[in-house]
């Protein structure tokens, strides 16, 4: 839930990267951290296990300048994607204003994407929010793997699996290379800020 500080003319917004384990959520934040070092005043916080899997969350605050005369501070989070971490995943989702769903394009991960999206739907309901109305952007990640001959799901298949009813913006991306990472971020920031614009008077 965004917080508007009239005294500082500042708005704080929470955007959460969601999706199946190993899909590339943490990699998205790492790329953003590397790219926008100059706009990021603190270190990237990560709570993870030995194997580099997210245990609780990653956190990255960025300043994006002024919107409607308000200084906008965007707090980026990732959830732990592994199925067993649902309790912590739900905690991270609390108060989210916008969501990036990072799906894994690898053909073998097809079912995992669908289950994770279902899980998002349920966890949002738990906070009385609807997956249909919350600002949401899809990212179909790891498209770079095509070059290595790894079987990938086509854009059309992923759209059909995940986005046929929701009809949200979707990007093909590669978080390791950086393709469309910033485009995804810009899109979700724009949608999220638009959703609260009326409250910034």
């Amino acid at each position: 839930m965004a917080f508007v500080n009239l005294k500082k003319k500042e708005v704080q917004v929470k955007i959460v990267y969601y999706g199946p384990g190993r899909g590339g959520k943490t990699t998205n934040l790492e790329f953003i951290y590397g790219k926008f070092r100059d706009r990021i005043q603190s270190e990237m916080v990560t709570v993870k296990t030995h194997g580099d899997r997210t245990l609780f969350f990653d956190f990255l605050p960025i300043d994006i300048g002024k919107i409607n005369g308000y200084t906008a501070k965007i707090q980026l989070y990732t959830v732990p994607g592994q199925v067993k971490y649902n309790a912590t995943r739900r905690l991270v989702l609390r108060g989210s204003d916008g969501i990036v769903f990072v799906a894994d394009s690898m053909a073998v991960r097809r079912e995992k994407n669908i289950l994770s999206l279902k899980n998002l739907h349920e966890n949002l309901k738990n906070y009385k929010k609807s997956i249909f109305t919350i600002p949401l952007v899809f990212q179909y990640n790891k498209m770079d793997l095509a070059e290595q001959g790894i079987p990938l799901l086509s854009f059309a298949t992923m759209e059909k699996d995940l986005n046929s009813q929701l009809k949200k913006p979707a990007f093909e991306a590669s978080a390791v290379v950086g393709t469309n990472v910033v485009a995804t971020l810009k899109k979700i920031i724009m949608m999220t800020m638009t959703s609260i614009k009326d409250e910034l008077k």
């Binding site: 839930m1 965004a2 917080f3 508007v4 500080n5 009239l6 005294k7 708005v11 704080q12 929470k14 005043q41 603190s42 270190e43 916080v45 709570v47 609780f56 969350f57 956190f59 605050p61 707090q75 989070y77 309790a87 912590t88 905690l91 991270v92 609390r94 108060g95 989210s96 204003d97 959703s195 609260i196 409250e199």
Partner: protein, 134 residues
């Protein structure tokens, strides 16, 4: 969805944090909401911390501890406190949506600090109660 606090309310909160907590020797005090947003923060000018990271971790930590309390059949654990060699950290819930976090050194006793935190929480409640958080 968002909620807004105005100049007067935020000044009121700053005042409480300053007079009740920083003045008695707390190093850093901040008020956050459960999403991890920072509503107000104040320090003694000597002890600077990365407040944004602390807020995110504190909100997560508090959420995790509350969830544990529920699992073991406690509504809420009443004392949330981490003790370090030099720096200690104390958490206190304010209404249902907010959290007051105090960092302090060993020159301040936990008992006294808890008393002052409890007083501040009561005052802050009066300011935040009318706020509608959707």
């Amino acid at each position: 969805m968002s909620y807004t606090l105005g100049q007067e309310q935020l000044d009121g909160i700053d005042e409480i944090l300053k007079n009740d907590l920083v003045e008695i020797g707390a190093h850093t005090v901040f008020l956050i909401d459960m999403s991890g947003n920072i509503i107000a923060s104040l320090d003694d000018g000597e002890n600077k911390h990365d407040i944004y990271s602390l807020a995110a971790l504190a909100a997560g930590n508090f959420g995790a501890v509350s969830a544990m309390a529920k699992i073991v059949g406690e509504g809420e654990f009443s004392l949330l406190f981490h003790k370090g060699k030099k720096e200690n950290i104390h958490f206190s819930k304010v209404l249902t949506e907010f959290l007051l976090i105090t960092l302090f050194g060993n020159d301040l006793s936990l008992g006294f600090l808890r008393l002052k935190v409890a007083e501040s929480v009561e005052k802050i409640k009066k300011i935040l109660e009318p706020i509608h958080t959707p």
